[in-house]
């Protein structure tokens, strides 16, 4: 039965149940002549819930257990020596049986036990499906009758429906918490496994990164010093901030304090487009346009810059971050009370003096928070660095040379097959945990500062 038909049946049953509840509650209302506690829609919804929820439960059970039970019953008919061997021959036999049962047939002779098993399979499938349908029908009908009978003038249908709605809402907001728990648990769990291969001190303070792809994957061959990656991350994020802070901040100041409304209404959305461009696009742009441009410009001026380097990646990442800083700072500057600005004008200060000596100091905490958020974004950025920084995990201090970052190394270590037993891929989780902790700290500090700042002026 295709899922589309199932969904249609469910919807039809739901609509029917709703209608029955609706009409029944109207009958009750007309018969008693009095006032109902809840409106007919709520009675309808309650009856629909009583009908559809058991249906859904049976469906979920069937989906979860049906195949398992079928397989178990079919395997029981197979010759014992085949079952004992298990593994590939058994699963091959099951595939053949499946093919015979579905009517496609198989190539070659059909063994008698295969035919028997195939018949059994068809039978079990039929019975299970029939059982599921009967069970679902009985339960749904029971729910329907029960709920319909409960409709009286005093049934608190609205309260019950609202309780269900609230339960659903709570469930949805727990998903976010589950995500965080999932992230922390999976990262910590795999990191601990990684630390059984490599000592944490060697990981956090080692200066050599050379994980050496092990063929067998059981021994911790190679060295896993994280410092070159951390330095690469910090250097690229630093270059990005050197680009983004002045341009972003001055753009915000110009647009909020100087620009005529028409200029602002054009420039602001255009600059914010930069924030919506996928990072892979920036990465490719850095790789094929900015990198060669920098390198040839440098050659003309008599020094050398690698096409893929920390500088290339940092510059482009800076451009990507401009809108984060400019729109956040713009909001924050606009929150500074007008009275402060007017006071400064009243004392004869020029516009730039007011901005530099009154508005910026007042908005500073908020701007610092915005910058910290931007830094955490720069540290977690992957695609630009993956394409444009050259992926060379060596501790170097020259920004014109290729480098590597934590994020790039995570991708590099997880590439291809994911054999989760080897330290070569487990290290990705240790790096991920480091990244998660760094960005978490930055975010908490930033959010704290921004919130304090808001409270100050609200």
């Amino acid at each position: 039965m295709s899922s589309f038909i199932l969904a249609t049946i469910l919807l039809i049953v739901m609509a029917l149940a709703y209608q029955m509840g609706l009409s029944r509650s109207r009958q009750v209302a007309a018969a008693s002549g009095g006032r109902m506690h809840s409106r007919p829609q709520y009675h309808g919804a309650l009856v629909a819930l009583w009908t559809v929820v058991p249906l859904l439960l049976v469906l979920v059970l069937w989906l979860l257990l049906g195949d398992m039970v079928t397989r178990w019953l079919v395997v029981a008919t197979l010759p014992p020596d085949l079952v004992e061997r298990g593994g590939a021959p058994l699963s091959e036999a099951m595939q053949r049986i499946e093919a015979i049962a579905s009517g496609v047939g198989v190539i070659g002779e059909v063994e008698p036990y295969e035919r028997a098993a195939a018949e059994r399979l068809q039978q079990v499938r039929l019975y299970l499906r029939a059982a599921a349908i009967i069970l679902a029908t009985v339960l749904a009908a029971g729910g329907l009758i029960h709920a319909r009978r409960r409709i009286t003038t005093r049934t608190r249908a609205r309260n019950e429906v609202e309780l269900v709605i609230r339960g659903l809402l709570i469930f949805c907001s727990i998903v976010a918490i589950l995500t965080t728990i999932g992230i922390v648990v999976s990262l910590v769990f795999e990191t601990i496994r990684f630390f059984s291969f490599v000592h944490p001190l060697d990981f956090f303070f080692g200066t050599v990164w050379n994980p050496r792809y092990a063929v067998t994957g059981d021994a911790a061959t190679g060295s896993y010093g994280m410092l070159p990656l951390l330095w690469g991350t910090v250097m690229i994020a630093g270059i990005a901030m050197l680009v983004a802070i002045p341009i972003g901040l001055m753009t915000a100041i110009y647009l909020s304090q100087y620009a005529p409304a028409r200029v602002r209404s054009v420039v602001k959305p255009v600059v914010e487009v930069l924030a919506g461009i996928p990072t892979i696009v920036y990465g490719f742009f850095a790789l094929v346009t900015v990198g060669p441009f920098l390198s040839s410009t440098a050659r003309m001026l008599g020094f050398s810059i690698n096409t893929t380097s920390a500088l290339t990646a940092g510059l482009v990442m800076g451009v990507m971050i401009i809108p984060f800083i400019s729109s956040l700072s713009d909001d924050i500057i606009r929150q500074v009370p007008a009275a402060m600005r007017d006071g400064s004008y009243g004392l004869g200060a020029t516009k730039s003096e007011t901005i530099r000596k009154v508005i910026l100091p007042a908005a500073l905490p908020g701007i610092v928070g915005a910058i910290l958020l931007a830094v955490s974004r720069a540290i977690g950025e992957t695609m630009i660095v993956l394409l444009a920084a050259g992926n060379s995990p060596v501790l170097r201090f020259d920004p014109t040379e290729p480098t590597s970052t934590i994020t790039v190394t995570i991708v590099a270590q997880m590439f291809g097959d994911s054999d989760f037993a080897a330290p070569q891929s487990l290290v990705a989780f240790a790096l991920g945990l480091t990244l998660f902790v760094i960005t978490l700290c930055l975010n908490i500090v930033a959010l704290y500062i921004v919130r304090r700042y808001r409270e100050q002026y609200e």
């Binding site: 976010a176 809108p323 991708v411 994911s418 989760f420 908490i444």
Partner: protein, 457 residues
């Protein structure tokens, strides 16, 4: 007294003069500073604006040519000598489906083994009758996929054998480079991808009008291909992205909106809801790659979802977009004036009725914008998908979210790494144009729907 007054007055006037003098002296410097500061601001805004212009200009200028590709328009004779294939087997009564399928596959294999390239060679040779170009050079200017095009024509219509039909074949990637000039035409022979004879032939065909530029519609209808780069297309990646977006829309939007409603309208002020709130704010800033690690560890390893499948990718993107949708929905709920709530409650609505019947309808435009922005963000995300194997080479259009597939941004990543850079660089830019075009239309849709919703009120 009068004199003292006078001298005092003059002293005051002197002082005032002096002050005015100082102020006036400083005024020039201050005005200069003002102008400098202002022009610095203008320069910053202009450079930010300029980055956008340069970026888009570069993408469009480099990507647009890739939408047109070299085609060879000629006539092919389906020579019965070359194409001698028996009839396709049919399902015999009493034969099992499996056996029929095996025979059919064997037949297809025999058909593929026919020398289709000979037909192509003959077709091209008729435009250069007196030159003695070798077979390899001729075939090197035609897309390797061309022989399958001919094969499929025969399979579809066996009666075509023996006839001569007009046909349009794609030129090979290298021929495309040569005609477009994306490879330096002055490079010496050993650095050219095509032999001198093939280059001469391509030029001759181009001059004759046999080889000409056509819109590369196969870019949208074909799947990725390793053997035949010229006929590789985005259809597989597009479907992969579509499935993932559907999953995001079906899961992230309802869950996100529901949790925003709960947190903003129902949640009591206690430690737990504080925790959820801090948690969501932090989740919004967690690097996307960490979500990829989560997907690899939980969805692939623990739940055993198939690697490279849009289902796993969609779930990872769902978790990643949730905080965006929650935060944006909450802020639009917060913007609803309290008077609306009070009026609803005052008329006897229950709390749930107040939220769902009165507050929520007002916020539809905001929720819609939030959802579309979240989906657009998910559409452009690459890094987490690399960790759950969506960078695998897939030569089929996925038919369900459980099939192997790539996604549009991952396709950009895959194509940028191709060795034939001259050909794939413009192509990657073309893919970027497609991706940005999709995102722009999503945003335009958001703006349009928003304005319609707001007008209705």
């Amino acid at each position: 007294m009068a004199e003292i007054d006078k001298s005092g007055q003059s002293a005051m006037i002197d002082q005032a003069d002096e002050r005015r003098h100082i102020i006036r002296q400083g005024l020039g410097r201050r005005r200069r500073n003002e102008a400098i500061f202002r022009s610095l601001g203008l320069a910053a805004a202009l450079s930010a604006f300029g980055f956008v212009v340069v970026l888009f200009g570069n993408i469009v200028a480099s990507g647009l040519p890739a939408f047109w590709q070299v085609n060879i328009e000629t006539e092919v004779t389906f020579d019965p000598e070359v194409v001698n294939i028996e009839e396709r087997p049919v399902l015999q009564p009493g034969q099992s489906v499996a056996e029929y399928r095996r025979e059919d596959l064997a037949w297809q294999r025999r058909v593929s083994l026919a020398n289709w390239n000979a037909l192509i060679e003959a077709a091209i040779r008729q435009h250069a009758p007196d030159s003695d170009v070798d077979t390899r050079s001729i075939l090197s200017i035609v897309d390797p996929n061309a022989r399958f095009v001919l094969r499929d024509m025969v399979i579809e219509n066996p009666g075509i054998v023996g006839e001569t039909v007009p046909i349009r074949l794609l030129g090979s990637a290298n021929a495309d480079n040569w005609i477009k000039g994306t490879i330096d035409r002055s490079l010496p022979d050993h650095r050219q991808q095509l032999s001198p004879e093939a280059r001469a032939l391509a030029d001759a065909l181009h001059e004759e009008g046999v080889m000409r530029m056509r819109f590369a519609s196969h870019l949208f209808t074909n799947v990725d291909s390793r053997v035949a780069p010229a006929s590789a297309g985005l259809a597989g990646a597009f479907m992969g992205s579509l499935y993932m977006m559907l999953i995001v829309i079906v899961l992230a939007v309802p869950i996100g909106v529901a949790s925003a409603i709960y947190l903003e309208e129902f949640a009591p002020q206690n430690r737990l809801t504080d925790l959820i709130e801090v948690n969501i704010n932090n989740l919004a800033a967690v690097p996307s790659i960490v979500f990829g690690l989560l997907g690899a560890a939980v969805f692939i390893n623990v739940f055993g979802l198939p690697l490279s499948a849009p289902l796993a990718g969609g779930l990872v993107l769902t978790l990643m977009t949730l905080p965006t949708i929650i935060i944006a929905t909450r802020s639009s709920l917060r913007a609803v004036p309290p008077s609306l709530r009070q009026a609803a409650l005052g008329l006897g609505a229950s709390h749930t009725q107040m939220v769902f019947h009165h507050v929520l309808p007002v916020t539809y435009p905001g929720i819609l914008t939030a959802s579309i922005l979240g989906v657009a963000q998910a559409l452009g995300e690459t890094a987490p998908l690399l960790l759950i194997g969506m960078n695998a080479f897939v030569a089929n259009i996925p038919t369900s979210p459980l099939d192997q597939s790539t996604a549009l941004p991952v396709q950009i990543f895959l194509w940028q790494g191709n060795e034939n850079r001259n050909f794939f660089e413009p192509r990657t830019f073309a893919t970027i144009i497609v991706l940005l075009g999709l995102m722009l239309s999503l945003n335009a849709l958001a703006i349009y729907l928003r304005s319609r919703f707001e007008k209705r009120k």
